[in-house]
């Protein structure tokens, strides 16, 4: 028999209801996080580090929509990031659009690709993961083979004066807010519950009236949208990219590791995972530049061994009452 997870709802006042406390904590976290990031330029902070921090939180959170909520692990997730960057670059360099319009064009390209390959969601588990990885590799090859006037060939695209670190930085703050608000909505919504049911047992969810195909497609498109936006905004911030950097499999690997380290399936997990690991990575790099990757790898192995459900997931498993306060 199961140990009862107790509730304090009956004794608590109305405003202290766990669901309200949970939302308050979450929105407070968003406000603090955004304030901290938005004031970084005025504090002469390391913009690249802050940008990287926001970028990985956004990527890990968007991966969480499809992997954490719906249970589909896309090993080719980088395809959306890469297409977002190239879509933005082409819109700016070839079509002559302003960069703030180029980024949505890049996002549209990523979402269109997600729609095109959506039938791969009929597969599950490792089969889906491998097909997704293959699609990303195909995507990289196709972009590399496109005419030089379009994608810049082996030199990639250089946005030149259009690239703007400061505006790119603030654009990333906006994308971060978007992904966090979407994550909190998804965690509370009926779609989120349907996705979790699909993750836990797709046939049982189907037999309980959940439209599996439609629900997972929504999660897939949401994940693609934010990953493509990140690709476009990163292009805005850095100004130059090629097929090697835009479709680097390490982008997927880091996104997966950060999301898993925090804990898939909650809105909070990927924020904690990406936040902690980006910070730890920076600290290790400052202290032990030669051993940076070795020590970070070691930390990840230890984390996965001792907290297989991630930091947030394992805490919720160890202290079940926390579940009611974690978004």
């Amino acid at each position: 028999m199961a140990n009862v997870v107790t509730s304090s709802a009956s004794s608590a006042g109305h405003w202290l209801r766990p669901d309200i406390v949970r939302q308050l904590i979450w929105y407070l976290l968003i406000v603090v996080l955004v304030f901290w990031c938005i004031t970084a330029p005025s504090r002469d902070a390391n913009l690249s580090l802050y940008f990287s921090f926001m970028m990985w939180i956004t990527l890990a959170s968007s991966l969480n929509f499809i992997a954490g909520f719906a249970g589909y692990m896309p090993f080719g997730f980088v395809a959306f990031y890469g297409l977002g960057a190239y879509g933005t670059g082409i819109a700016v360099k070839v079509l002559g659009l302003p960069i703030w319009l180029g980024v949505p064009c890049g996002a549209a390209l990523g979402v269109a690709f997600a729609l095109l390959v959506a039938p791969s969601l009929r597969l599950a588990g490792i089969y889906f993961a491998i097909v997704s990885l293959s699609l990303a590799i195909i995507c990289q090859r196709v972009v590399a083979l496109l005419p030089e006037w379009l994608t810049g060939g082996s030199l990639g695209i250089n946005l030149g004066v259009v690239a703007d670190r400061e505006h790119g930085y603030y654009a990333m703050v906006l994308v971060l807010v978007g992904v966090l608000v979407t994550a909190s909505w998804l965690a509370r919504s009926r779609l989120g519950k349907a996705l979790k049911a699909i993750r836990d047992d797709v046939e049982a969810a189907d037999a309980m009236g959940i439209d599996v195909a439609r629900s997972r497609l929504k999660a897939w498109l949401l994940a693609a949208l934010f990953a493509s936006l990140v690709g476009g905004v990163d292009a805005w911030f850095t100004g130059a990219f090629d097929t090697q950097t835009a479709f680097d499999v390490l982008v997927t690997a880091k996104t997966v590791i950060y999301a898993m380290a925090g804990g898939l399936g909650t809105a909070l997990g990927p924020v904690v995972g990406a936040g902690v690991l980006v910070w730890v990575d920076d600290q290790i790099w400052r202290a032990f530049p030669v051993l940076n990757n070795f020590l970070l790898g070691l930390l990840i192995v230890v984390l996965i061994l001792f907290a297989p459900r991630g930091i947030v997931g394992s805490l919720m498993q160890r202290f079940p009452r926390l579940r009611r306060y974690v978004m």
Binding site: M1, A2, A197, R199, A205
Partner: protein, 238 residues
């Protein structure tokens, strides 16, 4: 007007060269509990999977309230009025019990507060309310069976397919389950019940079908089927 809720006509399902269900026909009427028995591998679960759309049948037809549902998807069949439980309980293991019971209600227009209230009420009915904040994976096997039954009740289907509902369930939980089934029958719900627990199935069933190697070998009232020499031979051999 016919009171037939489910009508299966000459249903066949093959897996390669193996004919798992071979031209099976049966019907379930309103408020009736129809039992389906047979030895392991007889094709009982495969038949259920064909009825609720998990498997596409190769031949034959499934009709619900005279409407053809043979080619519909499981979620369409569920929303048309067919709920089911599984032989091995399949709860949503990382969702709490309230969310587990809310899943079948997600398509409705009811408010979230109403869904929560209905889910809590459903848990009370099967004695799992105290565990409402636990995850599905934290329940015992018997409790998971009860949770599945409560979940299917939430769907409010006309026809409920129960696959081995009493397997691995202790007597006190079994009693709760039997009470719920009888209560639902009194509310004119219909059942297709698969079980190895012959005592329970004989007690509950209004009509019985016996499946052997994918074919119906006997049907009728419980007392007729119990004494049928073909059935005795299928179960006990010569």
């Amino acid at each position: 007007m016919s009171d037939t809720v489910l009508e299966v006509q000459a249903l066949t399902k093959r897996f390669g060269g193996l004919v798992a269900v071979d031209g099976v026909s049966l019907e379930v009427r309103k408020g009736q509990i129809v039992g389906l028995i047979g030895i392991n591998g007889a094709g009982k679960t495969t038949l259920m999977n064909c009825v609720n759309g998990i498997y596409r049948s190769d031949d034959g037809q499934v009709r619900l309230n005279n409407a053809d549902i043979t080619r519909k998807t499981p979620h369409e069949i569920a929303l048309a009025g067919v709920g089911r439980t599984f032989q091995v309980p399949r709860t949503f293991r990382r969702m709490d019990l309230i969310d587990n019971l809310m899943v079948p209600l997600l398509h409705t227009d009811a408010s979230d507060a109403d869904l929560t209230a209905r889910a809590e009420d459903g848990l009370r009915q099967v004695g799992l309310y105290e565990l409402r904040h636990n995850h599905g994976e934290e329940l015992s096997g018997g409790q998971q069976k009860l949770l599945e039954l409560a979940r299917v009740i939430m769907l409010d289907p006309e026809l409920i397919l129960l696959d081995e509902p009493f397997a691995g369930v202790n007597p006190s939980l079994c009693r709760i389950m039997l009470q719920q089934i009888e209560k639902l029958r009194d509310a004119s719900k219909s059942f297709l019940l698969v079980s190895h627990d012959l005592t329970s199935i004989y007690r509950l069933s209004d009509h019985l079908y016996v499946l052997n190697q994918g074919e119906i070998i006997a049907e009728g009232l419980v007392e007729d089927v119990q004494n049928d020499p073909v059935v005795i031979e299928a179960y006990l051999g010569n």
